[in-house]
Symmetry: C2
Subunit: 261 residues, 2 copies
DNA sequence: AACCAGAAACTGATATTCCAGTTTTCAGAT
DNA sequence: ATCTGAAAACTGGAATATCAGTTTCTGGTT
């Protein structure tokens, strides 16, 4: 049984290494390949019906983007971030998103401002529902995060600067993946959390927008970091073994859900 | 005659594709492969004494970083940026560097603050000398820009966040390369330009540092953009031909200095 | 049981080879 | 001279095969 779809016909005219990149990336982001999961070029090539060469190209690219880590001649796996890397990611994100917010307040179109307000209401409603459910649902959680991503990308794209939007997306993709590691207990957000943010972005001065966004980005940072630290501590020996260790893990842990077909 | 060094012995234990990446990148940044220069995987592989495969891997990586552009089955060349891309690069850089300045003011060590002040004096002196010379010297220009890069990297590294420093370096490397396209007439800087910046970073509040850095980053932006626009306009048909056109250009222009051995 | 060495299995890296698409060249027609 | 079109040259993409390093397995020793 394969974890991946086989050759979407829609992507048929892209180079194989691009198809491989997109499909592996999607599999990781969808949680089919969770952090720590070993990746075999050969079996992946078989599943994707291509040679190992385009798969290697795709993995090289994913590695340079920080989604995957590889040790020469030993193995490749979905990257398990360190606490320091997560912290660094948040720092970069704060830089990019505060600037994005500033530019949005300065030059977003009326149409985009209205769209942002509407999306903020949807998002708040979505999180509210999520907070009420007794049993944590991974799918709903994932859907909410996807909407959250869309919200921030709307802000970035409304600035009209593609490069800024791309940089923010890169930064967010990593965090998006890592959030699945902590899925289970949900970190609650204040009510109207995004509504208030959108309000300031739409009607506030650029400085106010930037500062509001700064608070927004920082809000989850400490909670996420603390959770990662406790996970790493609880699982110290496994974590250490994995740091330089084998590719094919056979044990499960609170931190990792590893699969071996 | 080869443009590239052949296999540095110091890098001998790195994977070949990494060696290729480093050497090609250095060749581009040193101006041996100027923007627009065609890149042949086969001849490059021969020069580097390896097969085309690691060279392809290296070029794929350089492409994802924006230093090189490739059209399937047509050719690869050092990237010629558009005006919009240069503008986007400046936007991202402003976001990263203002945040870097803010963090520096907040938590840089005394040692790093002193080092920054010293370097700012050296840098100002360097630019002063550059402004006085009658004939523009590409080597001196390059040396000054290298020092300039070091200055900003010191600020970034003193924040203690590796990911932020890496993001700033990526962003700056592109501009560094593009600046060589405009070498010839020098855009003068006010005296004590970096001295004043360093002063605020070292002694000012985080907000003051961020705003000072914002002004600093924006200063050259308009001048650089204007120059690029005029170059593109003056060279419109060639520029257009190149946009989708042939790999091996045989003509020279104000914009491009293309080589064919 | 715990341990250790050697064999087997697997891994990523690389060379070689071939293929199909693009560009260039150049002879022949206008 | 200028245009045209077919062939030649070159390009990047991909498959296959092989190599050397790492990890895992296995069976014998203590």
């Amino acid at each position: 049984m394969s974890l991946l779809k086989k050759r979407l016909p829609a992507e048929v005219d892209l180079p194989l290494h691009t198809q491989a990149y997109l499909q592996i990336r999607d599999a990781i982001l969808a949680g089919k390949l969770p952090p720590g999961a070993p990746i075999s070029r050969r079996s992946l090539a078989e599943q994707l019906k291509m040679s190992t060469l385009p798969v290697s190209d795709a993995l090289l690219r994913l590695e340079s983007e920080g989604l995957v880590e590889s040790r020469p001649r030993a193995g490749t796996r979905v990257k398990i971030p360190t606490v320091s890397e997560i912290n660094g990611n948040y720092v970069v994100r704060e830089a990019l998103e505060t600037h994005s917010a500033r530019l949005f307040a300065e030059l977003a179109s009326v149409r985009d401002r209205k769209r942002l307000l509407k999306m903020s209401r949807d998002l708040d409603r979505c999180y509210l529902l999520l907070g009420r459910t007794t049993t944590p649902d991974a799918d709903k959680h994932s859907a909410a995060e996807k909407l959250h991503l869309e919200f921030h990308m709307l802000v970035a794209e409304a600035t009209g600067c593609k490069e800024l939007a791309a940089a923010i997306e890169r930064s967010r993709v990593l965090l998006f993946n890592w959030l699945f590691m902590t899925t289970g207990d949900y970190i609650p957000l204040p009510p109207r959390w995004h509504g208030e943010l959108a309000e300031v972005l739409v009607n506030g001065t650029p400085d106010e927008a930037a500062e509001k966004m700064r608070v927004h980005v920082r809000y989850r940072k400490d909670a996420v970091l603390a959770k990662f630290e406790s996970l790493h501590a609880a699982d110290q020996q496994l974590s250490k073994a994995i740091a330089r260790g084998p590719q094919r893990a056979r044990r499960q842990s609170a931190l990792l859900i590893l699969r071996r077909d």
